[in-house]
C-alpha cells in the first residue's frame, strides 16, 4: 500500500484531518488496495456514530461526501487531464479463435503515469476484466456498463461491421466514463489497462485476490443475501424504488425509439417507390414532364434525408438509451451489494449478541456433572470457559467493527456516487435528446429546402397560375 498516489487524485487545498487510530488500524487490514489509496485521507471524516447517513450532500460537514463533491467540481473540461480514445478495430486469427482488438490511446498529464501518451491494443475480454476489478474494489460504486457480449435480437454476427462499430463506440464511452470518475480514474487496474503491454497485462491479471479469497467473498455474499436486510434505511429503499421506476421508464424509451426506427424504415421503403412512379409518369407527358421529373427528384432527395435521419437515431440515441437500460441494472446490483454488506453487519451484530448472552448465561449455569467427570474443579473449568468466550467475543467485536466501517463506507460511497451518477445521467440524456431534436429540425429544414426549390422552379415558368403562397 502506497500513500504517495493519494495526493494526485485528491484535490489540494483540503484541510488535513487526523485519522483516528482505531479506524486506521482497520484500514490496514483491508486488502482492497485501490480503495485505500483514495480513502486513507477521506475516511477520517466519516463519523462512526452512524450520524453520517445524510442524504443531502450540501449539509454534511467535512465528510467524505463533501470531499467527493469538491473533486467533482474540478471535472470541468478545462481540468480534464486524461483523454482516452478507442478506435481502429482489427481482427486477429489464431488456431483456436478469431477475435477483435481495439486500439486504446491515452493522452494524459497525470504524474502517476510514466509518460504522457500510451497506445495499446485490447480485446473485449480485457474490458470485462477491468470492469470486474473495479466492481470488486468498489462494490457500491456505479460502474458504467459495457456493451453486451452478444446481441441476441436480429441476425447480428460478432464480426458484422455495424456491430463492431457500435461496440467500439460503447467501449470508448465506457473508458471515458471511467476516466471521468474521481475514484475509478485513479485505480491501478485502470492505469495498467491503459498502459501495459499485453504480456504485462496478462501477468497482472493473474495477480489480485486469490481464488480462495474470492470464493470466500462470494460465500459471504450469498450468505448475506440469504439472510436479508432487516433495517434498511429509508433512503436506500427510496433509491431502490427509483432504480425500479427508472429502469422501467428507460426501457420503455428504448423500445419506443426502436419502434420509431422500424416505422421510419418501413415508411422509407414505401417512399422509395414514389419517386420512380413520378418519373415513369413524366415519360408519358409533354408539358407535365418537367414538373413531374422535378417532383420525382424531390421525393428521392427526401428519401435520402429520411435515410440519414434513421441512421442518426440508430447510431446516437438508441445506444445511449441502451446504455442507461444497462445502467439501471447496475443501480439495482449496487443496491443489492449494499444490502448484503448491511446484512453481513447485522448478522455479525446478532452473532456477537448471542455470544455475549452465552457468556452471561454461562456464569449462571453450572455444568457440574460434566466437570466432575472430567475431573477438574468447577472453578477451573469456569475460568477456562470464560477466557475462551472473552477471546471469541473480542474477535467478533473486531469483526463487527470492521463490518460496521465497511457498511458506513459502502453507504457513503453509494450515496455520493448515486448523486454523481444522477448528474451524469441527466447530462447524458439531456444532450442525447437535444441532439435528436436538432437532428429532426435539420431533417425537416432540408426537406423544406427541397420542396421550396421545386416551387421556385415552377414559379419561374409560371404563366400566372393562380396563387402559390403557402396556406
Amino acid at each position: 500500500m502506497s500513500a504517495s498516489v493519494v495526493d494526485n487524485t485528491v484535490s489540494s487545498g483540503n484541510s488535513s484531518v487526523a485519522i483516528p487510530t482505531d479506524i486506521s488500524g482497520q484500514i490496514l487490514d483491508l486488502d482492497e488496495d485501490d480503495e485505500l489509496e483514495v480513502f486513507s485521507k477521506d475516511t477520517s471524516t466519516t463519523q462512526t456514530d452512524g450520524s453520517s447517513f445524510n442524504a443531502s450532500m450540501q449539509t454534511s460537514p467535512a465528510s467524505m461526501i463533501n470531499q467527493y463533491k469538491f473533486e467533482e467540481e474540478e471535472e470541468d473540461a478545462d481540468t480534464k487531464d486524461i483523454f482516452v480514445t478507442v478506435d481502429n478495430p482489427e481482427s486477429h486469427v489464431t488456431a483456436i479463435e478469431t477475435y477483435i482488438t481495439y486500439r486504446v490511446e491515452t493522452k494524459t498529464t497525470r504524474s502517476e503515469f510514466d509518460s504522457s501518451e500510451f497506445e495499446v491494443r485490447r480485446r473485449y475480454q480485457d474490458f470485462l476484466w477491468l470492469k470486474g476489478r473495479l466492481e470488486e474494489a468498489h462494490p457500491t460504486l456505479i460502474v458504467h456498463p459495457l456493451p453486451e457480449k452478444f446481441v441476441m435480437k436480429g441476425m447480428v454476427e460478432r464480426f458484422n461491421e455495424d456491430f463492431i462499430e457500435t461496440r467500439r463506440r460503447a467501449l470508448h464511452k465506457f473508458l471515458n466514463k471511467i476516466a471521468e470518475h474521481p475514484i475509478f480514474s485513479s485505480s491501478e487496474d485502470f492505469k495498467i489497462f491503459l498502459t501495459a503491454g499485453s504480456g504485462e497485462l496478462t501477468s497482472h491479471k493473474k495477480q489480485g485476490p486469490g481464488f480462495l479469497s474470492r470464493m470466500g467473498e462470494t460465500v459471504k455474499a450469498v450468505a448475506a443475501a440469504v439472510r436479508g436486510v432487516r433495517n434498511r434505511p429509508q433512503e436506500f429503499t427510496d433509491m431502490q424504488e427509483y432504480a425500479e421506476a427508472f429502469s422501467q421508464k428507460i426501457s420503455s424509451l428504448d423500445k419506443v425509439t426502436q419502434r420509431i426506427v422500424r416505422e421510419q424504415k418501413e415508411y422509407l421503403e414505401e417512399l422509395k417507390e414514389c419517386g420512380p412512379t413520378y418519373a415513369l409518369w413524366s415519360q408519358s407527358e409533354q408539358e407535365l414532364a418537367e414538373p413531374l421529373k422535378n417532383v420525382a427528384g424531390c421525393v428521392d432527395n427526401c428519401c435520402k434525408e429520411t435515410e440519414e435521419q434513421v441512421k442518426h437515431l440508430n447510431d446516437h440515441l438508441i445506444p445511449v438509451l441502451h446504455e442507461y437500460v444497462l445502467c439501471a441494472d447496475t443501480l439495482k446490483a449496487v443496491l443489492r451489494r449494499r444490502d448484503n454488506i448491511q446484512a453481513d453487519f447485522e448478522g455479525k451484530t446478532e452473532a456477537l449478541a448471542t455470544k455475549k448472552a452465552d457468556r452471561d448465561a454461562d456464569s449462571k449455569v453450572l455444568s457440574l456433572a460434566w466437570d466432575s467427570l472430567v475431573g477438574r474443579s468447577p472453578e477451573e473449568v469456569k475460568q477456562q470457559k470464560q477466557q475462551k468466550l472473552k477471546g471469541e467475543i473480542k474477535e467478533m467485536r473486531d469483526e463487527l467493527d470492521k463490518a460496521e466501517d465497511r457498511l458506513e463506507w459502502a453507504n457513503n460511497a453509494l450515496k455520493t456516487d448515486w448523486t454523481r451518477w444522477q448528474k451524469v445521467m441527466r447530462t447524458d440524456l439531456r444532450s442525447a435528446f437535444i441532439d435528436t431534436a436538432e437532428r429532426n429540425v435539420s431533417y425537416y429544414e432540408k426537406c423544406l429546402a427541397v420542396w421550396e426549390s421545386f416551387l421556385q422552379s415552377q414559379r419561374t415558368d409560371a404563366e400566372g397560375n393562380g396563387n402559390v403562397d403557402s396556406s
Partner: protein, 448 residues
C-alpha cells in the same frame, strides 16, 4: 368551333350574354370548394361559353335519408344539396337566398350517362368514385363514413363545375334542369330516349373490332389514356401505403409523451423539462391527422384524372367505332360495285350462290338480270349516300373530338401542375410544423 348539336332544345342564353366577361368576379376565377384546392381558372371560363358565368353552383350539404327502394326494401342513402344563384345578384351586392334542391348519387350517374351518350365527342368530366378505393388503414371504406361523404360532396361539386364550364356540355338543357328542377327531372331524361342509344353504344364499345385506318392521333391518345390510368393507379397505391407508414411514425412519438410524463414524476430537476417536452411529442403525434387529411385532397385530384383517363379512352373508342362503321359501309359499297360490274360484263369474279346455281341450272333470263342490276344500282346509290354520311360523321367527330381533346389536354396540364404545386406546399407546411415542434422540444430538453 363546329359542334355536333343535339337535336333537343339548345342553348338558353343568347350570344350577347356569352360574350360578357366577368373578369373581376372572384367567385368565377377561383371556385374554391371548402377545403378543396380545385381551381377553375379565369382563362378557362372565358374561353368557352359556359353556364358558370351566369350562375354560381355549389353542392352545399349532404344528408342521410331512408326510404323504400325499387324492390320495396328499406334503404339508407345520402342526398346532396345543390345550390344555384344567378351571378348578377351577387355582384350587385344583394345576397338572395339561393335556389336549391336535393339529389342523390344515382341521379348524378344518370346525368353523366346521358351526357356520355349525347356528347360522344366530349371528354365528359368524371364523377367521384362510387366506392372508396386506395384507402389506407385509417381511412374508412364505408360509403356512409362522414369523411367519405364529405369528400364525395366536394367531388360532386367539382363535377358540376366542370360540366358548367365545358363549352359544349354547359349549355345542355337536361343539365340545366338537373340543377334547377327537383321534380320530374328523371322522366325528362328518359324522354330523350338516350337509353336506347346508351345500350347500343355500350354494346359497340365492348365489342372487339379491327379498324384499318384509325386516325393516328386517336390511337396515340388511347395509348396515353392507358398509360395515364396505369401510372396514376400505381401512384395512388404507393401514396396510400406511404401515408399509412407515416401515420405510424408520428403516432409512436405519442408514446414518448406518455413515458416522459411518467418519468418526470420520479425525477427532481429533470421533471419540468421532461414533462413539457412530452407535451410537444403529443402535439407532434396529433399533427399527422391534419397532414394526411390535406394529402387526401391531393389524392382526390389525382383520382379525378384517373377517371378522366377513362373518359378520354371512351372518346377514342368512339372514334374507332365511327371509323369502323365508315369502313364497313365503304367495304360494302365496294363489294356491291364489284357485283354490278360482274353482272354487267358477265364475268364472275366473285363467288355467289346465284352464280353457281345459274351455272348449274342455267343462266337467268335477261329480264332477271336487268332487275338485279337495277336493284344493285339502287343499293349502290344508297351505299354511296351512306358512305358520304358516315364519312361526314367521321370527319365531324374527329374535328369536334380533337378540339375537346386539345381543350382537355390543356386543362389536364394546368390542373395537374397546380396539384403538384399544392402537394409541394403541403410538404412545406408539414416540414414547418415539424421544425416548430422539434425546436420547442429542444428548448424543453435544454431545461432538463
Amino acid at each position: 368551333s363546329a359542334r355536333v348539336m343535339p337535336t333537343q332544345e339548345r342553348k338558353l342564353f343568347s350570344s350577347t350574354l356569352f360574350h360578357k366577361i366577368f373578369k373581376a368576379h372572384t367567385s368565377l376565377s377561383l371556385k374554391k370548394c371548402k377545403g378543396c384546392l380545385y381551381k377553375i381558372s379565369t382563362s378557362m371560363v372565358e374561353k368557352g361559353t359556359s353556364l358558370l358565368k351566369m350562375m354560381e353552383i355549389s353542392v352545399a350539404e349532404a344528408e342521410k335519408r331512408t326510404g323504400k327502394n325499387a324492390v320495396n326494401m328499406q334503404e339508407t342513402y345520402t342526398v346532396y344539396l345543390i345550390e344555384t344563384r344567378p351571378v348578377d345578384a351577387a355582384s350587385e351586392g344583394t345576397n338572395p337566398v339561393p335556389d336549391s334542391l336535393w339529389r342523390r348519387y344515382s341521379e348524378f350517374e344518370l346525368l353523366r350517362n346521358y351526357l356520355l351518350v349525347t356528347y360522344p365527342f366530349s371528354v365528359v368530366p368524371p364523377l367521384p368514385e362510387k366506392r372508396a378505393e386506395f384507402v389506407w388503414h385509417k381511412l374508412s371504406a364505408d360509403n356512409m363514413d362522414p369523411d367519405f361523404v364529405e369528400r364525395r360532396r366536394v367531388g360532386l361539386e367539382n363535377f358540376l363545375l366542370r360540366v358548367a364550364s365545358h363549352p359544349d356540355l354547359s349549355s345542355d338543357k337536361i343539365f340545366y334542369s338537373f340543377l334547377t328542377e327537383e321534380n320530374g327531372w328523371k322522366e325528362t331524361v328518359f324522354e330523350t330516349g338516350f337509353q336506347a342509344k346508351a345500350d347500343s353504344r355500350l354494346k359497340a364499345l365492348n365489342a372487339t373490332f379491327r379498324v384499318k385506318n384509325p386516325d393516328k392521333r386517336f390511337a396515340e391518345m388511347k395509348h396515353y389514356g392507358d398509360e395515364l390510368q396505369s401510372v396514376i393507379s400505381q401512384l395512388l397505391r404507393v401514396r396510400a401505403r406511404a401515408a399509412d407508414r407515416l401515420y405510424g411514425v408520428y403516432k409512436v412519438h405519442g408514446n414518448y409523451g406518455r413515458v416522459f410524463s411518467e418519468w418526470s414524476a420520479i425525477e427532481k430537476e429533470m421533471g419540468d423539462g421532461l414533462q413539457s417536452a412530452g407535451h410537444h411529442m403529443d402535439a407532434y403525434a396529433a399533427s399527422v391527422d391534419d397532414i394526411l387529411e390535406e394529402e387526401e385532397h391531393y389524392a382526390d385530384q389525382l383520382k379525378e384524372y384517373l377517371f378522366y383517363a377513362d373518359a378520354l379512352r371512351a372518346v377514342c373508342r368512339k372514334h374507332e367505332l365511327t371509323q369502323y362503321e365508315l369502313e364497313m359501309a365503304a367495304q360494302d359499297l365496294t363489294s356491291k360495285k364489284q357485283q354490278r360490274e360482274e353482272l354487267a360484263t358477265g364475268t364472275i369474279r366473285t363467288f355467289s350462290l346465284k352464280g353457281m346455281t345459274s351455272k348449274l341450272f342455267g343462266q337467268e333470263t335477261p329480264e332477271q338480270r336487268e332487275a338485279k342490276l337495277k336493284m344493285l344500282e339502287t343499293q349502290i346509290e344508297e351505299g354511296e349516300e351512306l358512305v358520304k354520311e358516315r364519312n361526314a360523321e367521321c370527319e365531324e367527330f374527329v374535328k369536334s373530338a380533337w378540339v375537346d381533346i386539345e381543350r382537355f389536354k390543356e386543362q389536364k396540364d394546368h390542373d395537374l401542375r397546380e396539384a403538384l404545386i399544392s402537394y409541394a406546399i403541403m410538404q412545406i407546411s408539414m416540414c414547418k410544423k415539424g421544425i416548430q415542434v422539434w425546436n420547442n422540444a429542444k428548448e424543453c430538453f435544454s431545461k432538463m
